[in-house]
Symmetry: C2
Subunit: 477 residues, 2 copies
């Protein structure tokens, strides 16, 4: 790189960062060429080169006799569109890349924008800890609870059943299997209803952990187009399952991960009907269901399931603490297969923690806590959206989450969030690259941001620097 090239590129980057940071709004005039030349001690031709580059990137426009202006971008913060997916199922290979993100993003000093984890200060950790003390005093024989299958705590199961009483067809107590996490619940269900080589339908984009589960179980993923407003396309699933070659469907209908949308009830009803007709095993991740931003708790697909072919998985890791180690699955007709998988792939579930959770739910403390936490997450997601709108390149799109704690960002098409990940980490910035949400390499220009933390100036600054990093890599068209 020649010296003069370095000079104009630096200027272009600085100007771009200045613009995407919101210091100049669309329609506002940039400083004059002469002023830039004087202030930066650069030749006029170098300044002109820098401005031409920004013009090529679509950030600014020259107006004859008037100078350079920040471009009006049309609907700059639109939602991403649903994408066309491959017709055929593919083997998955994302695990190594997910592990890399997991390892690098957790280093000290890296902004917590990657994994969907809440800030500890939002969680009722002290109350839960105190409850352990009370529980072991009041129930001195918890650790006697016996043989290694079916350690399910009856009081906890009762609470889970109570919460489903309003559904058209609430699950029975004996459908429930208590697990160590929602992750474990999903893994047990996948193994319960598939054999290596089977095809499993997933949303597109799909939660990367689901893809990892398919990968390690030797299963193929069939990506189904998914709309950021209404969720998985029932029509596409209908087409894809006509030949009977899809063994199961894995999805997150409530506050989808990563899209954040809630599938409308009418779609859930159609989905339940279709999957019943096709005899399709459905594995539904409802972990964000209690984190809706609207007034009503959205129902899961399981609420409309008349033939017991839906397995509902969830946990309290996003609402109470990831360190609890407690999740569950309502197994529908697959009780025996799921219980077998539980017995042979983990066996135990902490008897003490089950009782703690049962009493926390029973007392009403959970519902009180959730009223606050939902508002916290909604505020944080909105603050993140504002920050992305302010700091990211003009053509960036993003979702309008209806719940949960993540935001899905679609960068201009020429950006590759996976390729830029190392640079981001080097700058103390993390995210989950979009390509990890696809088995077929889609979503390279997308990324997912965690909104689990209060939007502090430090978080805002991290988003600003991330936006600037992306802007710097916008190539000329």
């Amino acid at each position: 790189m020649t010296h003069s090239r370095l000079l104009y590129e630096r200027l272009a980057e600085d100007l771009q960062e200045f613009i995407v940071a919101g210091n100049l709004r669309p329609g506002e005039r940039l400083p004059s060429v002469r002023r830039l030349s004087q202030e930066r001690r650069l030749s006029v031709s170098t300044v002109l080169q820098a401005l031409r580059q920004l013009e090529e990137r679509g950030l600014i426009e020259a107006r004859p006799q008037s100078g350079y202006f920040v471009r009006q971008t049309s609907a700059p913060r639109a939602q991403p569109d649903a994408r066309v997916t491959p017709d055929s199922p593919v083997l998955v290979d994302v695990s190594q890349r997910v592990m890399r993100v997991l390892q690098t993003s957790r280093k000290t000093g890296v902004a917590p924008l990657a994994f969907a984890l809440p800030a500890p200060e939002l969680l009722p950790l002290a109350a839960l800890q105190r409850l352990y003390g009370g529980v072991v005093r009041r129930h001195p024989r918890l650790l006697e609870s016996g043989p290694f299958i079916q350690l399910d705590n009856a009081a906890l199961v009762r609470q889970l059943v109570l919460r489903a009483m309003a559904w058209e067809k609430p699950p029975a107590a004996n459908e429930f299997v208590i697990t160590n996490s929602c992750t474990e619940a999903l893994a047990l269900c996948v193994r319960a209803v598939t054999r290596p080589g089977d095809t499993v339908a997933v949303e597109s984009p799909a939660y990367y952990l689901m893809l990892q589960l398919l990968e390690t179980a030797g299963l193929k993923a069939l990506e189904i187009p998914t709309d950021p407003r209404t969720g998985l396309s029932i029509e596409a699933l209908d087409l894809a399952t006509r030949d009977g070659k899809v063994a199961a469907c894995l999805l997150v209908p409530n506050a989808s991960n990563p899209l954040g949308n809630i599938m409308p009830d009418e779609h859930k009803r159609r989905f339940a009907k279709l999957s019943a007709e096709r005899g399709l095993a459905v594995i539904e991740d409802d972990i964000f269901g209690d984190l809706h931003f609207g007034n009503e708790r959205p129902r899961p697909i399981k609420a409309f399931d008349k033939t017991d072919n839906v397995m509902l998985c969830s946990s309290f890791s996003k609402c109470l603490s990831p360190a609890l180690g407690m999740g569950f699955v309502a197994t529908g007709r697959y009780r025996q297969q799921v219980a077998l998988q539980k017995a042979i792939t983990s066996g135990a579930t902490s008897a003490v923690t089950q009782q703690v959770l049962a009493e926390y739910l029973e007392s009403g403390a959970y519902d009180r806590h959730m009223r606050t936490l939902r508002r916290d997450y909604e505020r944080q997601v909105n603050a993140m959206r504002t920050a992305v709108a302010k700091y990211f390149p003009a053509a960036t799109r993003m979702t309008e989450p209806q719940g949960g704690l993540v935001l899905w960002v679609e960068l201009p098409a020429e950006l590759d969030a996976g390729a830029l990940y190392d640079q981001a980490i080097a700058a103390g910035l993390a995210y989950v690259p979009g390509e990890l949400f696809s088995a077929s390499g889609m979503y390279r220009n997308c990324l997912r941001l965690n909104c689990g933390n209060p939007h502090t100036p430090a978080i805002d600054d991290a988003v600003r620097r991330l936006g600037a990093l992306m802007a710097r890599h916008l190539r000329a068209p």
Copy 2:
């Protein structure tokens, strides 16, 4: 069945039970035909028919002019011999049968002879429960512990490392992954080092859970002859692994399940060397290692592992409580693969329970408890051996466990413990049929008994009735 047949069979059964219960010793004379006829109000010919049946079963012999005598059986309580195993690996299909035993044997009123579970009164449950209270008071921020991978508690890992300090090559702290159970540890390791279709070498007989793991992972089992005194045959493993087609070896070298023997150190050393040379991934279940009956804690194969190809799995479910939900694996060179499996198949491990366990180990309470528990189990295993010797048919063999809490019983060859299981359950008696310890249908005339309970009169009576049931089914040769 005709009336007279019923009569003589009843008499035969009563006499047999009387003999196997030890009321008549080898060489002693049975009551005379005339006396039996009078006392039972049966015709002489009916009595003679009954006696002829017992003679055919090898229980008694007629001596001319003297009457009927209980037969001298040669070395009636010998250990079983190692058996020849199939040359080729086979797909496994035992899970449904294991689940059936699991479900039926846990019903109220069934004697707890099936699963290897300790009686609650032998465990320090009250002390552990109290510790929960103290731990949550002293460590108010446990539930903050973070992101969903690597929830490993440093104090707990330190205790595990300390316990291995005397080994030739103790594992490093960063080798450990804390799990929800030994079962989970084994499952993670199997998935970490195999692909569906791979062949895995196992002991013969093998712990049925290992076979279930292979079954659900789509792996083939290659059964390696295993001596009830010295364990898995290193020579056979040598032969079996020459072609490089064995992906891993799963075994329980310390107080093997079900044989109860401890592999001699010299064999462990040779095993470690051979597996290193062959690049064989070894998954070692050491759950009974702390339950040795001898004075010294036997070392695991991992203690002799110079190339980090051994994964050591264990938990505290046989020593502290199956309801704790806490195990671990020292991963050797497979750390990354095992951690990946942990992240995607369960994620969480209870932060509170990890600290409880760490402090229990730290305080020395565990070692004090184990000194008592080892003696308890040894006493119970010996009492079980005495009971089996007393009540089971003459040709029955059984193991001489050097640790653990199970006894392996080899019935006369014509008995099928799997086929008799339903009758046993109907009589309130349970065991694990021997066929569940083989992928190729071996060990039909064997069964495993749990010695985890104090040998009460109720347990003794259950063993007596089980022995009588087996004796009743001895067919004529």
